[in-house]
Symmetry: C2
Subunit: 100 residues, 2 copies
DNA sequence: GACTTATATATCAAATTTGATATATAATAT
DNA sequence: ATATTATATATCAAATTTGATATATAAGTC
């Protein structure tokens, strides 16, 4: 976690005012940020280090770090499921029709 | 869609009674099924054929079919996002702490 | 039945993600 | 200040997913 979420929000708002064409890219990043943050948050609340979580997921600390990094968007559902399971949580994926 | 969801539910229930060790595998499939069904359902409601949706997503009919198939679990968030966007929906990914 | 359209399945190369190692940087404690 | 522990970044091979083509099956229409 390089940056706190609210700091980031303020920053993107400022940048968007300057260049609205970045909107789509920011939205994607925002989604990723949110997942990253949810995992980070839950890991912290579970009192685990990245290394400890990595062991539960049967992977390495570096990979957990990547998953928690704000600009990573390449998740696979399988990966997310493994991580959330290790955190004793479950993954909920919903497709929400616009304006409904 | 080879099979309707409620048919599948009855079937898995029966199989689980016979062999409870299959539980985890079924849960995974269930999650995938749900996503597949959500997409299928939304596509139908949008009055689109797989071929038409494929064009919107800039891919091919066969790939949409794969995404909608009940036993496919290999989704990438990127793929799901492209599809849901084409269906004018948005993707919601939530990590829900157990028993909360 | 023959035609047409929609969907499913198989296969494979290309693209992407993951896991792993090495190493750097940051934070904390002594 | 120097150890120690936690996290971040870089890199790359291995594993997985995607996109594409070809083709099969299913469903609907004439």
């Amino acid at each position: 976690m390089k940056r706190r979420k609210d700091d980031l929000d303020r920053l993107t708002e400022k940048l968007l005012k300057r260049d609205p064409s970045l909107k789509e890219e920011f939205e994607k990043a925002d989604q990723a940020w949110d997942i990253a943050f949810q995992i980070y948050d839950l890991r912290k609340k579970s009192g685990l280090t990245q290394t400890q979580l990595a062991k539960l997921v049967r992977t390495r600390q570096a990979n957990i770090s990547r998953i928690e990094s704000a600009d990573y968007t390449g998740y696979t559902l399988k990966t997310l499921e493994k991580v959330t399971k290790a955190l004793k949580a479950r993954l909920e994926v919903k497709i929400v029709p616009a304006s409904l």
